[in-house]
Symmetry: C2
């Protein structure tokens, strides 16, 4: 039997990562380049094509053995790979699938990066083979990927799963960049935590953060906040507690709507979950509508840095197979 490989691309704000992945989800070779956002989409797409070419040469595979290319983008795209927007790399209406397809001669499949991470977890990680799951990336922002009935669900027009922009309350501190007030990611994300800490510091509350950041609030990282909380610092504790409370509000909403088998937590904040996971589970159990059926498991993602590459490759595999049915 001939082996088939898929190429997974993780297009992020700072780097483009690419990998050759087996049908079973093992990365055999990977590489990356900086994302040249300021030079426009043509440059970035050419860089992706070059990465693909270089990986094929280095791996001594000829193109015949590659079944397709999956690209995870920080934005939303149609099933055909037309990128509606990818804000932090300044893309609007870019025909990524078509252009990259012509350059490489391979079928290209594009989806949101959180969706790709959800696929990786579904194939190899914590939501493995769960029929219905929601994956959350708790990073700078708050993204989501949804699997329903064993398939990626991105909405009818490819613009769903924007979990971070679900209104969950009123945020008295700041509006969301999307123009609304009260988006979930303004309460439960790295940015939300940093903003909350800055506000508390501006109220002259004493905190170990001053020392950790050499008195520059712009240098606060989520690691400072979790470290400080572990040390018992009042400001850091308040920040983590509020983030946890709102994480519970949004997760309870998702359970009331989707009632998934598992909700998986990924992204930078999830790496510190030992500090808040028990409290989060408790608060979710108190908020869900059907309290006696507290069945949705809340788990921390298992895959590391390669999740974006693996998920994109597995997504390409699944879509290519579906197209060939």
């Amino acid at each position: 039997m001939r082996l088939v490989y898929y190429i997974g691309i993780d297009l992020g704000g700072s780097s483009v990562k690419a990998g050759i992945v087996t049908e079973q989800g093992t990365v055999v070779l990977k590489d990356k380049k900086p994302t040249r956002s300021k030079e426009g989409s043509d440059t970035i797409i050419r860089d992706i094509a070059t990465l693909v070419e270089e990986l094929l040469v280095a791996s001594e595979l000829d193109g015949q053995e590659v079944g397709g290319i999956g690209v995870g983008i920080p934005g939303a795209a149609s099933k055909e790979g037309f990128v509606y927007f990818a804000t932090n790399i300044f893309w609007t209406d870019i025909p990524l699938g078509e252009t990259l397809g012509k350059m490489t001669g391979k079928p290209v499949f594009v989806a949101n990066d959180a969706t790709m991470a959800a696929v990786a977890e579904y194939r190899l990680g914590v939501t493995q083979q769960a029929a219905n799951s929601v994956f959350l990336t708790l990073g700078t922002g708050l993204g989501g990927g949804i699997i329903i009935n064993h398939q990626v669900y991105s909405g009818h027009h490819g613009i769903g799963t924007e979990v971070g922009h679900m209104t969950v309350g009123h945020n008295w501190d700041y509006d969301c960049t999307c123009g609304n007030n009260g988006c979930w990611e303004t309460f439960a994300s790295g940015t939300a935590m940093k903003n909350h800490a800055k506000k508390l510091l501006s109220q002259k509350t004493p905190s170990v953060l001053k020392e950790k950041t050499k008195d520059d609030p712009d240098h606060i990282s989520i690691w400072h906040l979790f470290e400080g909380a572990k040390e018992g610092d009042e400001v850091c504790l308040q920040v983590v507690q509020r983030m946890t409370r709102y994480l519970a509000v949004g997760i309870a909403n998702l359970i009331n709507l989707f009632d998934p088998e598992i909700i998986a937590l990924g992204g930078g904040i999830s790496a510190a979950s030992d500090f808040f996971l028990d409290e989060l589970k408790l608060q979710v159990s108190e908020r869900i509508y059907v309290k006696k059926m507290n069945l949705t498991r809340i788990e921390v993602s298992q895959l590391g840095n390669d999740a974006g590459i693996i998920g994109a490759a597995m997504y390409a595999r699944d879509e290519e197979r579906r197209n060939n049915l």
Copy 2:
């Protein structure tokens, strides 16, 4: 070819409606009884079985021609028809499917009443053949039914689609009966509108409502509120405007999450939608995350009183066919 019929049951707080429905969704005969909630679930289930029997006799069908029975309940149930709860008829953990199945000798399929209404709209109404849609019942409370990829989606454990208990803000006036504050239905439902009107009246705001209700705030109906708003009454206008604003918040949330093809509005409030639909669509378009892709249609349901019966029968048809695959 032998004709097959399905029986649809709409179990509500005040009445049990039943109908014999063709495979195409036409009601050929229907009847109803009062819901004897206080006499317990056994009595109600026996009443349902009696209704079924009486309809079969009156229609001169023998049982052979009936493919199955669908029951819409005001609560949540497993796929096997085990009712976890149905608060306003005082049910907890009732094996409705099993009991009614034994009494009638027919396969019984149970789901939430809003889900059944969603199925009716999908088969014969405004969401007809849409792959992905959300149906909202804007009545005393706020219920929902979700169709994903042409199939009913009720969650992994059958307790999803509780849209009314999505937290969307802080409600300074009252907590939700579920124990949380800020549930969508405390802002956008008949109960929410009445409570808001009562509050404004208690602040001595002059209003035509006093005349319409003979100065008894407990007699306020949503019709009084919409009538008053059409007459330009300040209290009624405020009530309708706030309901519309929060309806837009929640619908934008659903679009950001599900990105459906259509969101259909049913229930008593939707009957007055000529008064707020344009404003609602405008506000939704301003709130959704991908503003340039304002593609989800917001439509008023087309089916009348029989939607519950028809939906339950069509649900039974679809589930029975799936089981026989």
